[in-house]
Symmetry: C2
Subunit: 346 residues, 2 copies
């Protein structure tokens, strides 16, 4: 749907901290963007919480949903059995044209499943992709897929490149984003079977700027705007980055604390350094991972999201609606329809 300002369905029940974190985060984004919010969740609970929150300048209404997707439930079970789970209700609001997009910090697998089977795929898109926006030393880079599609055919990777193009264009403000294919060597012909074939397709693609293979070490240099890989590789890469950043900062902290050299100044410096340091690995900066290739906008947030992350994610959803990112995505997919068909027949 399309209106003057974006209408966003917020899964108010999702996330480790629930509505007390989701609501203030989303309301702040509503104030900043002018988006209208449909706060989806247990009506009584939300109505109890709202008077204690700063709702001024935010346009919202509550949409009741009696159930919540449990973190230990299977996505398929949530989809089949919990018809009134907040994430299902939110996705139906998009499907029915009552909202332009959905934001959820709940069960990621459920967000992907409900997005795919309730909102549905964009015509021509074979598989959706979950995109993570990684901070780098220069500009951020869009890494996709990070877990929506783990077993990929070469033409899936190819389409991730096309979709990444549309996403990075609007999100990073780059006219022609540089698309890199994650591989194990820069030269053409390096990689596993899927990557080698995807390379051939991307090389022939129209409308996009394919920059060739990139290696793992290039992910954080910012030399490409989009990094394409299958959902298995992307998920491992993303979680590895989180884990390594945390490990390194723990080691460093320990070292600075035990250095003995003017400990107070050490702590001061450390705080200052860590601020910047943390920025590089601060996933709250963008707040969530866009799930793309769907009819409508969907942002999947980390379960541990704080209010700031929810604000960022909601703003990102509003941006994609305003920029009509899906239109551009459809253009790129359509312009390369023949190549996708060719890839599928290989």
């Amino acid at each position: 749907m399309s209106s003057n300002s974006p209408i966003l369905a917020i899964d108010a029940m999702g996330g480790d901290h629930g509505p007390s974190v989701i609501l203030p985060g989303a309301l702040e984004a509503a104030r900043q963007t002018g988006a209208r919010l449909l706060l989806v969740g247990e009506k009584n609970l939300l109505e109890e919480l709202l008077p204690g929150l700063d709702t001024q300048g935010a346009d919202f209404e509550i949409v009741h949903a009696s159930e919540v997707a449990g973190m230990d439930e299977k996505p398929s079970d949530i989809l089949r059995r919990k018809k009134d789970a907040s994430i299902q209700v939110a996705c139906r609001l998009v499907r029915d044209g009552r909202a332009d997009g959905v934001v959820s910090a709940g069960h990621s697998g459920a967000s992907v499943a409900c997005g795919m089977f309730i909102m549905g795929r964009v015509a021509g898109v074979e598989r959706p992709a979950l995109a993570s926006i990684l901070p780098t030393e220069k500009a951020p880079v869009v890494l996709l897929d990070v877990g929506a599609t783990v077993d990929c055919k070469p033409y899936h990777l190819f389409q991730f490149g096309l979709m990444g193009h549309a996403l990075a264009r609007d999100l990073l403000g780059r006219e022609t984003p540089r698309i890199g294919l994650v591989s194990i060597g820069e030269e053409e012909g390096k990689g596993n079977c899927q990557v080698k074939e995807a390379y051939d397709l991307l090389k022939m693609a129209t409308q996009i700027h394919f920059a060739g293979n990139i290696e793992g070490r290039d992910l954080f240099t910012g030399n490409v705007d989009v990094a394409v890989c299958d959902g298995f590789v992307g998920n491992v890469a993303l979680k590895l980055s989180e884990g390594l950043s945390m490990s390194l900062s723990r080691v460093l902290k320990r070292e600075l604390l035990s250095s003995g050299v003017l400990p107070k100044i050490g702590t001061l410096l450390a705080k200052s350094a860590f601020k910047r340091f943390a920025k590089v690995v601060d996933y709250a900066e963008y707040g969530g991972a866009p799930l793309i290739g769907l009819q409508g906008v969907s942002i999947v947030c980390h379960g541990a999201s704080n209010s700031k992350a929810i604000t960022s994610a909601t703003r990102m959803a509003a941006l994609f609606v305003e920029k009509e990112t899906n239109k551009r995505l459809v253009e790129a997919i359509c312009a390369n329809e023949e190549l996708t068909r060719y890839g599928r027949s290989c």
Copy 2:
């Protein structure tokens, strides 16, 4: 071959810095371990260099090789056309029983190809694996494969687990190393097709301790001793770790330098912190990646290796010979022969 002390063929010509770095590194290891070295390379060049080096207490001889594998040549071309390349000659010394192992910092692809086709695989091993020893906050972890076999069947991953067991046992001194399978969720049933099937095989394996799936973030926690993945995932993970560590340390350095708060103390602290920091990502600690599953020992070093890294790699080669790691590897492979066959038939 087997003798009182290990005999190691050293590719003296390999690496970005050539014999002037390889020789002193290897000689130091010979002194430390009592290993006998066969220094393989251009005889005249090596004879010119040796008088300027500390050779005391090192047992060595020169084996002439007239050619060098170029870094821009294809491994298959080196294998077919450069019969007298130092890496080929070194691998033939192992094949012919004149040496127990080979150490090279030359063209990695050539080391893998020559190892596989000249030294040959251990009977029962389907594919060799390149293992990287990652430093973690606790004990090091063996990650394999990091690039020898990029297109993996489930039973290849299964065998990597068995080989990783033998390696970690001798290298990390753990009686029953914990084997983790790299996936995108800890629960059984998470992963791509290959990983799900490999899980089933590993669960049934005898002689090893399979600890289940691990995620990317667990790689640097040290909660498993061996992390199993295909060569594509492992290579991306390894290079990503290198790249991210370097990025983070650059950001931190910049921050400390520009903090303005008593810059000298900042630098002091930074130096101290960086020392420990670098240790976490110091790949010279172990020096090289064991290429396992071959008849004989092979250590593949980084092209940029310094002498310290070559010393570490040569010591590691000597350790594997002394511990007869390949015997243990064969035991684990044989004990699980039926399972491998079952996996191959799936």
